[in-house]
């Protein structure tokens, strides 16, 4: 059997532990699809796979147990799903499956089509970003969440996009019930205080979650017409130095979000280690190498932030350093109760 595993992977099939057997990775940008495609996935799983479907961590489906020789047929069968999920198939002919799988599915929480807390349509923005970045072989994880509750855990991705709204107070509609102040204190950052019977918002503290708006019984608080985003940067999991993404920009607009994503790809293409295994390197490690300033120079190119936007500086990541002892030694407890540093490991 002769199979180009590099091409296979790019085509969104996996090299599994069973020789000659692959699994098909179905991407669902924004995590929302028409229910009819579930039937299609079932059909593929039962006809070509082993009759099971894996729900992936990034809101896709993985259909396991497919013999390599069935790949062309599976790709044909996938076409309907590719069309229906709005996947950018540029680079492949119809019926040839996915053109790339390096960049991961743009995942998103359920968003404002359903959730009362969400500050924007996460699905729509995820699908928009999909069109902009795919097909792409770079290993990038973009995560969208509707509000600062961050159910989608954006800080685990390279680029995190968290919905915000700027609360607008119509003081004449305020009845001094205190519901907003209570909600902000108990559920958010305690940014509201009562001044002359009405709430005053500490704009420095406010994270734009909209709890005050949802709590207000009289529509004194409403949402800003402009939708805003907090962008978090360079979170990652993995075997070297997993860490949470840090705040980059508070109160960014959608255009800036898209431009920063594009710029980050440009930067990554330019600086990625050509010898990186499988051509994959978390952007964070590249930034560790080039320095944050160089990254920011690229990331903010042609970005026109709204006046309200706050850019965080400096950007400091922390995280778990699995190989920490190699550089700094291991702290060990000595029998006599003292702590010694051991470089022998």
């Amino acid at each position: 059997m002769d199979i180009n595993t590099k091409e296979l992977k790019k085509n969104a099939f996996r090299v599994t532990k069973v020789r000659g057997v692959t699994s098909s990775r179905v991407r669902v940008p924004g995590g929302l699809l028409k229910a009819e495609y579930l039937g299609k996935i079932q059909e593929i799983a039962e006809k070509y796979g082993n009759g099971t479907v894996n729900l992936t961590a990034r809101q896709g489906f993985e259909i396991p147990g497919i013999p390599f020789e069935k790949i062309p047929e599976v790709n044909q069968a996938l076409q309907e799903i590719i069309d229906g999920t709005g996947v950018n198939q540029t680079g492949k002919a119809r019926g040839e499956g996915y053109p790339a799988s390096g960049t991961r599915n743009v995942s998103a929480c359920v968003g404002n089509r359903v959730c009362p807390y969400a500050c924007y349509d996460t699905t729509a923005l995820a699908q928009k970003i999909e069109k902009v970045i795919f097909p792409n072989d770079l290993h990038v994880k973009i995560v969208l969440t509707g509000c600062p509750n961050d159910c989608q855990k954006v800080r685990m991705g390279d680029i995190g996009i968290m919905g915000m709204t700027e609360p607008q107070l119509d003081p004449e509609r305020c009845v001094s019930c205190g519901a907003c102040i209570k909600a902000c204190r108990s559920k958010s950052v305690d940014a509201l205080t009562k001044v002359h019977f009405r709430p005053e918002r500490d704009t420095y503290k406010c994270i734009g979650c909209g709890e005050c708006i949802n709590a207000c019984p009289n529509l004194a608080w409403t949402r800003s017409p402009q939708k805003y985003f907090r962008i978090t940067l360079l979170g990652r999991t993995g075997k070297k130095n997993p860490r949470m993404g840090v705040d980059f920009i508070k109160w960014a607009d959608e255009d800036s979000v898209i431009q920063i994503i594009k710029n980050t790809y440009e930067y990554t293409r330019h600086y990625i280690n050509p010898d990186s295994p499988g051509g994959k390197e978390h952007i964070g490690y590249i930034v560790d190498r080039t320095g944050t300033e160089e990254f920011l120079r690229w990331a903010l190119k042609d970005v026109h932030l709204p006046e309200i936007a706050e850019v965080y500086t400096p950007l400091n990541w922390s995280g778990i350093e699995y190989a920490h002892n190699k550089y700094f030694g291991n702290q060990r407890y000595h029998e006599d109760g003292t702590i010694v540093t051991d470089f022998s490991v």
């Binding site: 969400a118 009845v175 001094s176 205190g178 909209g210």
Partner: protein, 341 residues
């Protein structure tokens, strides 16, 4: 007298009214709803005929035209008091028959319940009413049960049917003007609802004894005492007072009156720190019996007009009509308990 006006003719009428009136009507605020990408429909001064929302019921009621959520009554210095200005213009209010019935309730409390309320009266005097017909029932309204589904007590009625405004008016001073804009005379009757999805019946034998029923207990937990039901209610009249001194000069300030809610904390606070009706179930009992019992005992007719706004807005899906319909059972429970059954 009935007329049918097209959009252009209605536009002329609108401009005519605007000279004399601020026109208050349900207005759609795009993106102005509580949740992201939702609209709000509430009362506001409209500047264009097309701003009037004819389809969706306003979430907040007509009462904001006379009882704003917050209103400054007067300003004070160390020695002087200066009244806040009365509205410069009269007000033409577009409202549905349930709200028109609520006007009578509001008048009852503010004008015919002891001395008339000065600040209410000076706004009320300049009000004229345009009743919007209801071609179909709304989701939660029970106007038919409350007898508020029809009214003749309007200055004009209006129905927007297939792009034509069907108008019936009862004021001689507008007659010449209607003819002047070229509106066509016609036989016009405002649309009315004759059957709601929701029906209620207030028990004939209802007394305050029902307060002893266990029916109120569920609301201790279910209700979150947010007060939405009160703030949207066209017949809730309660307010509280706020005196404040300005930061830049602590010797001058203003007095406001602000809508109050019997569901919200603080309503029953009294001097010395005591507070009655701490439990939300007790508050629900108080509100219910004020709406369908106590007001009627004092004034001879029901306070609740059945607009259903309280049900529309409750985030906890508590239905006021459902509470009314459980009063009979509650009365029976109390009677059974008292007789030792």
């Amino acid at each position: 007298m009935g007329y049918v006006a097209d959009r252009e003719q209605f536009g002329k009428l609108f401009s005519y009214w605007e000279k004399e009136y601020d026109i208050w009507a349900p207005k759609r605020f795009h993106g102005g709803g509580r949740f992201s990408d939702t609209d709000a429909v509430r009362y506001a001064v409209v500047k264009e005929p097309d701003e009037i929302e004819f389809d969706e019921k306003s979430a907040y009621s007509w009462k904001e035209t006379v009882l704003p959520p917050s209103e400054t009554l007067f300003y004070y210095t160390q020695t002087h008091v200066e009244e806040a200005q009365a509205p410069a213009k009269k007000r033409l209010v577009f409202l549905r028959s349930c709200d028109l019935a609520a006007v009578r309730r509001m008048d009852q409390i503010y004008l015919k319940n002891g001395d008339p309320d000065y600040y209410y009266e000076r706004k009320r005097d300049g009000l004229a009413f345009v009743m919007i017909g209801c071609p179909h029932t709304c989701e939660n309204g029970f106007c038919v049960s409350m007898g508020t589904n029809a009214s003749d007590d309007y200055d004009m009625s209006i129905d927007l049917v297939d792009g034509k405004y069907r108008l019936d008016f009862r004021r001689d001073d507008w007659d010449a003007f209607f003819a002047g804009v070229g509106a066509e005379k016609a036989d016009v009757t405002p649309a009315r609802v004759t059957e709601n999805k929701v029906q209620v019946s207030v028990p004939e034998n209802l007394t305050f004894e029902v307060g002893k029923s266990s029916m109120w207990n569920q609301y201790d937990k279910r209700c979150i005492n947010c007060g939405r039901c009160n703030f949207v209610c066209p017949t809730c009249t309660c307010f509280t007072m706020q005196d404040l001194y300005y930061d830049a000069n602590g010797n001058v300030g203003e007095r406001r009156r602000v809508q109050a809610s019997c569901m919200v904390d603080g309503y029953t606070d009294v001097a010395g720190g005591a507070s009655y009706r701490k439990k939300n179930g007790e508050r629900m009992r108080f509100k219910t019996l004020h709406k369908v019992l106590d007001f009627k005992e004092r004034f001879g007719y029901q306070m609740c007009v059945g607009c259903g706004r309280c049900d529309d807005i409750c985030p906890e899906y508590i239905s006021f009509s459902n509470i009314i319909n459980h009063l009979e059972e509650g009365m029976k429970e109390v009677a059974d308990n008292e007789s030792g059954k």
